[in-house]
């Protein structure tokens, strides 16, 4: 405490050094570093699986680190529960607000440290305390109202007020703006600046680059479980930030032959899908794109850019809020995936376990899950025909399984993905949507799947491919769209489809020279 009075260089509030953490043998953190100054707003960024949430969970006591050193407020820091971390001055505000919606604002703010008189709750003191804390952020709300009846933004302010009430020295915000509108984001930033002025530090996790530059002082970039860059926000340009996050050299020329997609299509035939100014939910605001027959169209963007959300709307899994779609030349607005499937669309989801496989069922049943109605006469499945089709696709895609009757959960990730691809290929689709088709798949199977996608397109299939891998987009697709904060910001073709242009679009949005969009 006395250190704070010394004028010259303030020691950092938090130092994490050489942090290791692995889960079941696979490392999530490898020597990660993180240093946070006092009264500093610090951006923590990285792609999926970079290790930022693990790092936070190690800090807040959800996970125990395997190795490394943590120093907080000048003291060695060792907590084994989120509760202990909170008592020590570290509060975390999650995407989904972890407060009690049915209880009042005041109760939530004072939860766990309720003022008492004669052993009973002192409601008057509680309300006064809540009003005092919220008043500091000039937020005017009836503290007796149930928290759940207030807008998300206000709930977040309550969460922050609660953290301040706990005398937090560090507030961690995990994607706090994901469900806020622009005006609410501004209010949140004002609050962040205010608590910074009070000497509280903030760790800010977000994928929206503009927000990082608007509110953060410093940035730490993580990749593959290690810290790859840390420095003042003003010294790192957006492009550099994106390149570092993705692990790309800015000067690097696209290496040919790193993927197995094969030669690109010379030209595309007729339009299969056209999406115009699509809007849906908080993450898709203005997306336009088109896919032609025999064409592989890439969809690039950072995490949270709205790529998965867009393709889910195209497939009818989520409703559209605005814009229009055309499929096969006709207006198209599917309300259920079944509509899209009936029109010849297939969709391989990003998360195989949650949205792809039915784990208890066999390879045979998983492969024919969508085709089954066509294999049925009077409600009875034609098992001979089913087996013929399954055998054919197992052979064609080289699925390695003991037999078609093996439960799919016993297969490797790559083989599961092949079965899921076959689920759509056996439907003879016109358009195939692939969301991260090679994520979490070993190198061999990855090349096979990429080669297969290339072949399918050559046979006339239209492919819309979401991918976070720069190589996969550049080499695999004939054309690529870049999404940023729910908007199509660039369309890259031919010579322009290279790493520099791609990263630039992901970082800055539309170039002045190649404006994309509608006005």
């Amino acid at each position: 405490m006395f250190q704070r009075q010394t004028p010259t260089p303030t020691p950092p509030l938090l130092v994490m050094r050489g942090i290791d953490k692995s889960f079941g043998g696979s490392p999530a953190l490898r020597g990660a570093e993180f240093t946070l100054g006092r009264g500093e707003v610090h951006a923590l960024i990285g792609q999926n699986g970079a290790g930022k949430s693990t790092l936070i969970k190690v800090l807040t006591g959800y996970h125990r680190r395997d190795a490394g050193l943590v120093e907080f407020d000048g003291q060695p820091f060792e907590v084994h529960s989120p509760h202990a971390a909170q008592a020590a001055g570290i509060s975390t505000i999650y995407q989904e607000i972890n407060l009690v919606g049915l209880r009042s604002v005041a109760e939530n703010i004072c939860l766990g440290r309720e003022p008492r008189r004669f052993g009973l709750l002192d409601w008057r003191a509680m309300h006064a305390e809540a009003r005092r804390l919220l008043g500091r952020f000039s937020i005017d709300v009836d503290v007796r109202r149930p928290l759940g009846s207030l807008p998300t933004a206000t709930q977040q302010m309550v969460a922050i007020a609660r953290a301040i009430g706990f005398k937090a020295k560090l507030v961690i915000m995990d994607e706090p703006t994901s469900s806020l509108d622009d005006r609410e984001v501004e209010v949140l930033f004002d609050v962040i600046r205010q608590i910074r002025a009070d000497g509280v530090s903030v760790v800010f996790v977000s994928h929206k680059l503009d927000e990082l530059y608007a509110v953060c002082d410093r940035v730490t970039i993580m990749r593959d479980g290690t810290t790859v860059r840390s420095g003042p926000m003003s010294e790192i340009g957006k492009l550099e930030l994106v390149a570092t996050m993705l692990g790309r050299e800015l000067t690097a020329v696209a290496r040919q032959g790193a993927t197995a997609f094969g030669a690109k299509a010379a030209h595309a035939a007729g339009e299969v899908l056209a999406v115009d100014q699509l809007a849906a939910g908080p993450r898709v605001r203005d997306v336009s794109l088109a896919v032609g027959a025999g064409e592989i169209v890439g969809m690039a963007g950072l995490l949270g850019a709205g790529r998965t959300e867009t393709v889910r709307v195209v497939f009818g899994a989520d409703p559209a809020a605005g814009g229009s779609m055309r499929y096969g030349g006709q207006p198209f607005r599917p309300t259920e995936p079944a509509d899209a499937i009936a029109r010849g669309i297939g969709f391989c989801t990003e998360d195989r376990k949650i949205e792809g496989i039915v784990p208890e069922l066999s390879v045979r049943e998983n492969l024919t899950l969508a085709l089954l109605p066509h294999l049925t006469k009077a409600g009875i499945v034609d098992e001979a025909e089913q087996r013929r089709i399954v055998e054919r696709f197992i052979q064609r895609l080289g699925v390695k399984c003991q037999s078609p009757e093996q439960p799919i959960r016993e297969l490797s990730g790559g083989n599961q993905q092949k079965v899921l691809l076959a689920r759509w290929l056996c439907m003879n689709p016109k358009l195939l949507i692939l969301d991260e088709p090679t994520r979490g798949i070993d190198v061999g199977a990855k090349a096979e799947i990429q080669a297969l996608i290339g072949e399918l397109a050559k046979d006339g299939l239209a492919v819309l491919m979401v991918s976070s891998e720069v190589e996969e987009i550049i080499e695999g697709s004939d054309r690529a769209y870049v999404l940023r904060d729910g908007q199509t910001v660039a369309e890259l073709t031919g010579q322009d489809l290279n790493e520099t242009e791609l990263l630039a679009a992901m970082a800055h949005g539309a170039h002045d020279s190649r404006e994309y969009g509608h006005g």
Partner: protein, 334 residues
């Protein structure tokens, strides 16, 4: 049956086939065999037509309800309302037979309607369960709790809470009749079990039930009409409960809305659990459910025949359920 040239041997059993695996896979069958062996050794007069018939007659209603319950549980749901739906169907049938709802021009028409209408009404209530669950996304345990409570009330209102006594040999065939010496309800039970097992294995609907229970999101994204599949299983569960209600009143020649199907939902769920159907959905065995019901029945019979009071039999039943669930857990983690 299948194209021989492409038929392959079934997947070899998974790596460690220890005793635990064996029990988990065929636990119900092993349990039943052990019980029969125990009875052969210790229970007097066990080997007789009468013992067999008594046990099968008593178990038939449970099995009929449990068949519908298996399908519901296979989708990841549960149906608490079956006992109350039995009461509704059991209360309606005598009213129709006795012409208290509509004057019946011909006694045989009355019998025919007494068979059909109550079952359809129970089915409609079952469909209503499915409607609540799919339309308003209410958890199955809560949605079916509505009719669990209200259903018996409806049955009592319909009958004014009176005990209805009746004698109608044509109608009571379903509880007292015999075909080739086998009780009619046992034949009904076997037909239902065979039909449902075949349906689950060979039809589109059956495969969709398991897909919905195994991974609802993946099923929807594969174009399966999840809501319609769910509504149909609750409809079937209602129909089964309605039929079981008729069997019970036919045996007793009397209908008491307070008592018909009381606690049946728990017996049916127990039979399904002991039979090895995954309570989380996605894997189901109709024959397992039959074995499960037989085990529960036989445990009770064994204890009673050896002079153990009924209250202790309840504890034994609970123990069986715990054992079944424990075996399921063990299997899941392998």
């Amino acid at each position: 049956m299948a194209d021989a040239s492409i038929a392959r041997p079934a997947a070899p059993a998974r790596t460690s086939d220890g005793l635990g695996q064996l029990l988990a896979r065929h636990g119900a069958l092993v349990g039943l065999v052990l019980l029969v062996l125990f009875n052969l050794a210790f229970t007097p007069n066990f080997v007789s037509w009468q013992t067999l018939n008594v046990n099968l007659t008593q178990v038939a209603a449970i099995v009929i309800v449990a068949v519908g319950m298996t399908l519901v549980i296979a989708t990841g749901g549960i149906d608490l309302s079956v006992g109350s739906l039995m009461a509704i169907s059991g209360a309606l049938a005598p009213l129709i037979l006795l012409g208290q709802i509509l004057p019946m021009p011909h006694p045989l028409l009355a019998v025919a309607l007494a068979f059909v209408l109550p079952v359809l009404v129970a089915g409609a209530f079952g469909w209503f369960n499915g409607f609540l669950i799919t339309r308003y996304r209410i958890q199955p345990i809560v949605a079916t709790l509505v009719l669990f409570i209200a259903g018996r009330g409806i049955a009592q209102v319909v009958t004014n809470g009176n005990l209805q006594v009746f004698r109608n040999p044509e109608f009571q065939v379903i509880g007292l009749g015999r075909l080739f010496g086998i009780p009619v309800q046992v034949i009904l039970m076997l037909i239902l079990v065979a039909g449902a097992a075949w349906m689950l294995r060979r039809t589109l609907f059956g495969r969709q039930i398991l897909a919905v229970g195994g991974n609802e999101q993946a099923a929807r994204l594969a174009g399966i009409p999840v809501a319609s599949v769910k509504r149909r299983v609750y409809l079937i569960s209602g129909l089964c409960a309605g039929l079981a209600g008729l069997v019970v009143i036919a045996i007793n020649s009397a209908s008491d809305a307070n008592l018909i199907g009381l606690g049946m939902e728990l017996d049916a769920i127990a039979a399904v659990a002991v039979g090895g159907t995954l309570l989380a959905g996605g894997r189901a065995s109709i024959t397992g459910t039959l074995l499960g019901a037989l085990i529960i029945q036989l445990v009770r019979y064994t204890l009673l025949a050896n002079g153990v009071p009924d209250s202790a039999a309840l504890v034994a039943k609970a123990g069986l359920i715990v054992l079944a669930v424990w075996l399921q857990q063990g299997r899941k983690s392998t």
